[in-house]
Symmetry: none
Subunit: 201 residues, 4 copies
DNA sequence: ATGTAAGCGAGACGGTACGTCACGTCTTCAC
DNA sequence: GTGAAGACGTGACGTACCGTCTCGCTTACAT
């Protein structure tokens, strides 16, 4: 019997409040105020702010990302990076995600939900991306997809969400190339010798 | 005239509270309580919780990190990664740093302070590290130190502070190798052709 | 088309709620609940709790009281006092009437309705009672009926509705006698002398 | 340690709210708002609105009224009536007193407090007033002081607080005379005969 | 008998107040 | 003057009702 329009208004308000105040300072009262809604309407839907935020995160992150096959490792990488960059450049996301990730360090439920929603998603993409590259012969079998995800997402996340530096268009292509090289080198050459030998080039 | 013992007690309490509650939920009252001190004692030292936290951040991050010359790019990388990993593995740091970085998105003063303290520090290390590698001939001149920092710190930060995945000892060495490869490839090969040519086929 | 049974149930519930909670705390919700009826059923009949209560007061108080001629002032007085005492002893009345009278001090509509219903009624009784006594020669012409009503109803109302003291059976007769004496003296002897002269008796 | 000025401000606000809204609608929130004070300041002083109101009633009603000896029953009566009329004419009192008396019908604590404070006070005045008149020989021994109080206060309360009719200056003198006559007659003549015999015929 | 209209209950809605708690500010008082 | 203690106003908590309003269901009258 809950009216959908009101649920929507509350959801939007939650996102805005999360961005503006962060999870720590998020208050049901402010959400209701921003949504132009009574507190009861909120409590009728979620029993606590944790519930509310968790559902939101699940919803948003549950949307499976497209992962087309571009035909090459580097193409796939660039595609993934571009998608991720678009998401992280959204001002809401770039405020909310780091905030929730930081909160996750204190709140096991948030940690678990994010683990399930965001990270599992990324892991799956990594597995597929690496798997295809291995099939293509671009990467040696046994390449660790988890480490690959660190390499792929890490630099981008750092630049956009942590250092909050600008992201010139050319940067992404260069980054894709670098990561491809890193992945190739990463497991073909676990010893120092290999890396060094390649350097002089 | 302020009693040093009390100042010290408050400082410790601030760090513990920051880790336990985060910046958003940090309250002077809780700090004073944890330090076993009156609220007045805190306010006599800092005019607000922002002041307090900024001073702590400046203090901690102001300590310049050692950056020895190990003789090779990969050696330098591994050293830097090991230092950074040690810092990020500290439970306090891994709670406080992401929290403050998230808060920085909302609070220009925090952003500025962190920029000055943490990121400038890293940037300098990056410049030195890349500079030396270029001198050694391991990297082509013109390698962008800023992008290098993204590549170096990003994956580690992602794994430790975001994904909160374990960090096996071997992982660091492999990561150092991968990053070295990425840096070498990063600007030597801005085109697809180069990446593909490197695939073991 | 309104169902009579429901109207009746609501009316009863209103009276009970008025007695239990008073006008200030009276709520449509509680009335509906007590009547076992939806709130809509109530609002379809009255637009507000004021409307509702005013209608009830009018109904109840509209019933004209009998005022027989007992043949003597004192007999008439005792009769009237006995009727009034019976009404005020009813637990509902003794709760609702003072409450509404108090509320009347704040609410002109209630004041007006009560004025019309209760007080006009009493005034009329007073006029008739005094008129007959004057005709009989028991009271001097020019006796003020309004002041007489004060003298008649005041002590009884005070004892029953304010002091909430018990009302022994003999009390009423004595009171009737006293009031008769007061009325007789009231205007025959507006000076101190008369009163004092009577005292020694 | 509670600040007296604030206590005073709250007290005034309570009285004003009681007059404006009545006990039933009285809310701590409104009191605090009107006093320009936080709710905590109120709760720090009284644990509930009942406590708050009871204390006020006790304070106000605790002030013992003066009861001089004017030398005659009628003089004493007129004096008492004049005092009572002054109190009941005060708009605050004429709103609050009937309200609390009505509420007393529902709330034993209020009833008890009012009984102790207001009514006991009046009873004592009645005892003294009647006692003196008996000593003077104006009234027969055995005159019931309680019934006397009903006769004295009832008409005045009815006129001022219930009927809310104007009170011309001459009315009080006349009323005092009437009551004196009633008291004299009240116990000297508990039978009809006496009353009738007094009628001027 | 079926359709339409109105009465009805249920309950979601935006409010207000509840009594509690935690907080930053400010005052008071002991040392 | 440095502290602790704590009263102050503020504001959020989660709950309980309130008056209003929107729903379907049912009842009953007219087709």
């Amino acid at each position: 019997m809950l009216r959908g329009e009101i649920t929507t208004a509350i959801r939007q308000a939650v996102v805005q409040e999360l961005a503006a105040a962060g999870y720590g300072r998020l208050s049901i009262e402010a959400v209701a105020r921003r949504a132009g809604v009574g507190k009861t309407a909120v409590y009728r839907r979620w029993s606590s702010k944790l519930d509310m935020v968790l559902e939101m995160v699940t919803d948003v992150a549950g949307q499976s990302l497209p992962m087309p096959d571009t035909g090459s490792l580097r193409g796939d990488l660039e595609f993934v990076l571009r998608i991720a960059a678009r998401a992280l450049r959204h001002p809401m996301a770039s405020q909310i995600i780091p905030d929730l990730l930081a909160e996750a360090a204190r709140n096991p439920q948030i940690a678990h939900t994010l683990q399930d929603a965001l990270l599992a998603n990324q892991r799956e993409i990594g597995v597929r991306l690496i798997g295809r590259a291995v099939e293509r012969g671009e990467l040696p079998p046994g390449t660790d997809p988890e480490a690959a995800v660190d390499l792929i997402v890490g630099p981008l996340y750092w630049r956009l969400a942590v250092a909050r530096a600008p992201l010139p268009d050319a940067y992404l292509s260069r980054l894709a190339a670098s990561i491809a090289a890193a992945l190739v080198a990463g497991f073909a050459a676990p010893t120092e010798r290999d890396v060094d030998s390649r350097a002089p080039a």
